[in-house]
């Protein structure tokens, strides 16, 4: 029963932008892949490949112009609210409300997710312990360091305990220590049986974390398979193999 464990199913997803003068820009096309529970799925590709567009379509921020996707059993076109309730989304440049404290930010999103107040307060305390945030939970966000902010963002992403996580270049712009928080977090999620879709342009991150991966370039999937399969094709130098896939697509 693959459908039960395939928490993310993208079927021929595509997004074409129409410009004002009849120009058409294809940001993504024919994206098909699936990701399972307990799996970290890597979306690898250079800047502008269509990774963010794909993740935004999967998370219903953008509506696809072709194809569709199913997240935890909900269609992104038909039940976007349910999809959003089922996912957590984190990107490298996610901002926090600078005039609110982390506790207020988390409480805000918790209420939007419909968590009951007592459960929400308990959940915030739990996450604060888990992510070591107790020291700055009641400080205004504009006074926090980048690493602290990223912890708050991580907490916000898993606040409602979603089964599917989309991470859009979550380590972009972070230093080694802050990146470490993210990497640990991804591993922990996998351990909890969540499905993590992880986009990056850094091969090394894929090699460390991912079970399966798709290489996206020019809006299309150029490679789809397990990390082991990719290694088999590539030999030892994964970076080199990545580049070869890109060249073949050109």
């Amino acid at each position: 029963m693959p459908d039960l464990v395939d928490l993310v199913q993208a079927r021929e997803l595509g997004k074409t932008y129409r410009g004002s003068k009849g120009t058409r820009t294809v940001a993504a096309s024919g994206i098909t892949f699936s990701a399972r529970a307990g799996e970290v799925f890597g979306l690898l590709g250079p800047n502008g490949a269509g990774k963010t567009t794909t993740l935004r379509m999967l998370s219903t921020v953008l509506s696809p112009t072709e194809g569709t996707a199913c997240i935890d059993g909900h269609d992104v076109r038909e039940a976007p609210d349910r999809v959003r309730a089922a996912i957590g989304f984190l990107s490298g440049n996610t901002g926090l409300y600078p005039r609110l404290t982390p506790r207020e930010v988390l409480a805000y999103f918790g209420r939007l997710y419909g968590l009951p107040e007592t459960a929400l307060a308990a959940r915030i305390e739990e996450l604060a312990g888990l992510l070591d945030m107790a020291g700055f939970l009641d400080r205004r966000c504009d006074a926090l360091s980048t690493g602290m902010k990223q912890k708050v963002n991580v907490a916000r992403t898993v606040l409602h305990d979603p089964r599917v996580l989309f991470l859009d270049e979550p380590t972009a712009g972070l230093d080694v220590l802050a990146s470490r928080t993210i990497i640990d977090f991804v591993r922990r999620c996998r351990g909890q049986g969540k499905c993590v879709v992880f986009s990056t342009h850094i091969m090394a991150e894929v090699a460390r974390l991912c079970d399966r991966l798709a290489i996206i370039h020019k809006g299309r999937v150029q490679f789809l398979g397990t990390l082991a399969e990719f290694r088999k094709d590539a030999g030892d130098d994964l970076e080199e193999a990545f580049l070869r896939v890109l060249e073949r697509a050109a």
Binding site: Y17, R56, S59, T60, V61, L62, S63, D81, R82, R84, A85, I87, F89, S91, N93, T94, G95, L96, Y97, P98, R99, L100, E104, Y108, F109, R111, L112, Y113, G114, R156
Partner: protein, 504 residues
């Protein structure tokens, strides 16, 4: 739309904007503190400027004979009226009218007693004098005012000879020498000196001193008018003041001379006053003042309603994009219409708050800060409760329109700065129709009820005067609600457009 989610969003946005200094400034500090302070400052400044202008020593250029003659006429007026003046000035507290210095004191006192009488006799030190002033006859009051005019002309002026004027260069643009002037004033030096940037000569006078003998005649058939010419610069306030002082002086002399001539001929004053217009204004000073306030208030209410909406609307849209928080919000399981509604509630409330606070603080400032002490009761500003409530009801569609409009425009921007440059022109768009209430000659005709904002402005003016124009009100409220409804619909459409939401 889920009301609960909208409430959660609105609650958070309230908390957020209330921690924003810019919003606080425009919503709270500006109407409560800055506006009243500014108004008191300006009004005091204007008062002191007026006082300074009135007591300023002005320079008049005149031929030596003319000066001698004018001074002689002034002194003659004073000695002719001294007896009467001493009695009258005692009644308003100037005990012994001696020399010319006392005349300055008298002139001051007349002005303040006049204010006191106009203010409706409050319980001040001048109360008794104000009563005495009101008990005097018109002629008696006129004589006291004329004494002030003579004093202003005689003592608050400096005189220089026409021949002392510097040679003229080229006259400034827009300055010409009229053709029918007496020869001594037709000189370009006169016009040049009066219009000069240095402002050291304020007006020039010509008195035909040679004709004075024919003027002092006993024979009524041969009575003549003595032509006195004044040259002044109507574009400068001090020069106008010089003109006014001369005119008031000549009028005082004229009144006295007419009295003398009539008496010599045994004629009653009616002889030269075949008609007399008796004026009766049924509107109290308070009512007239209320009409003025009724014109200014709508403009300020509408403007501050806009100011109140301005920063929160930008902060909650473009500001949220700039801080990279909007996309996170879009990922929460709330519909975009709910998000728009939550933000709208907050901006709407800010607009209403700013408008209401402005009105309240304005009323308090005018009553306790600007009007002289004790006169507020006399003005008896009387805004009826139904009028106030109807005015407030108009505020609802106005605030909704501004909130929806600003949210839409600001959402299309990528950054706060860009949003500001989009939203600022809107201000000019609303200022013009809002200002229509300030135009006293613009009648509130029913056709204007169809012009957005202009209808609100005019209707508020009428309501504050106590005119209940129900048909105008119905059209205004209906069309404004329709317009703000359309704008809200547009806003909700724009909030659903991903190309707008994700434009960064």
């Amino acid at each position: 739309m889920k009301a609960l989610r909208v409430l959660v969003i609105a609650r958070k946005e309230f908390r957020d904007v209330l921690r924003d200094r810019r919003t606080l400034f425009f919503m709270l500090l500006l109407p409560i503190v800055v506006m009243p302070l500014l108004m008191i400052l300006i009004s005091n400044f204007m008062k002191s400027q007026l006082k300074e202008k009135e007591s300023r020593i002005l320079t008049l250029a005149v031929e030596p004979q003319g000066k001698v003659l004018l001074r002689a006429l002034a002194n003659r007026w004073l000695s002719d009226h001294r007896g009467a003046l001493v009695g009258l000035s005692a009644r308003i507290g100037i005990e012994s009218l001696g020399g010319l210095d006392d005349l300055a004191q008298l002139s001051e006192r007349v002005k303040s007693v006049q204010d006191e009488a106009r203010g409706g006799l409050a319980d001040t030190a001048l109360l008794a004098y104000g009563r005495a002033w009101l008990e005097m006859s018109d002629d008696q009051r006129q004589m006291l005012q004329d004494a002030g005019a003579v004093h202003g002309f005689l003592n608050q002026t400096r005189w220089i000879g026409l021949d002392a004027l510097p040679p003229a260069g080229e006259l400034p643009p827009g300055v010409h020498v009229p053709e029918d002037l007496p020869a001594s004033l037709a000189d370009a030096r006169v016009a040049a000196a009066i219009t000069s940037e240095r402002k050291d000569v304020h007006a020039a006078l010509h008195v035909p001193a040679g004709e004075i003998d024919t003027w002092f005649t006993e024979d009524p058939a041969r009575a003549v008018s003595l032509p006195i010419t004044i040259v002044y610069d109507g574009s400068q306030s001090l020069s106008r003041e010089a003109h006014d002082r001369c005119a008031a002086f000549i009028e005082a002399l004229t009144r006295a001379e007419v009295r003398t001539r009539l008496k010599a001929q045994n004629l009653a004053r009616d002889f030269v006053e075949p008609f007399r217009l008796k004026e009766a204004n049924v509107a109290s000073e308070g009512r007239q003042f209320q009409a003025v306030i009724g014109g200014i208030l709508p403009y300020l209410i509408i403007l501050f309603c806009f100011f109140g909406a301005f920063y929160p609307s930008l902060d909650l849209t473009a500001g949220e994009k700039e801080r990279f928080t909007l996309e996170t919000l879009l990922l929460a399981p709330v519909s975009r219409v709910d998000i728009a509604a939550g933000k709208f509630v907050v901006v709407f409330a800010a607009a209403i708050t700013a408008a209401v606070l402005t009105t309240a603080s304005l009323a308090l400032t005018v009553t306790y800060g600007i009007l002289p002490k004790g006169t507020a009761e006399a003005f008896n500003l009387n805004f009826e409760l139904p009028a106030v409530l109807l005015t407030a009801s108009l505020l609802v569609p106005v605030a909704a329109l501004f909130a929806a409009m600003l949210l839409t425009v600001a959402l299309c921007a990528r950054s706060f700065k860009e949003a500001q440059s989009y939203a600022t022109p809107l201000q000019f768009l609303i200022v013009l129709p809002a200002m229509t209430a300030l135009m006293p000659d613009l009648q509130t005709e029913l056709k204007w009820a169809w012009v957005p904002l202009m209808n609100v402005s005019l209707l508020m003016r009428e309501l504050l005067k106590g005119n209940y124009l129900w048909d105008f009100y119905a059209i205004t409220l209906g069309s404004m609600f329709l317009l703000s409804g359309i704008m809200l619909w547009v806003a909700s459409r724009v909030f659903r457009r991903e190309s707008v939401l994700l434009r960064t």
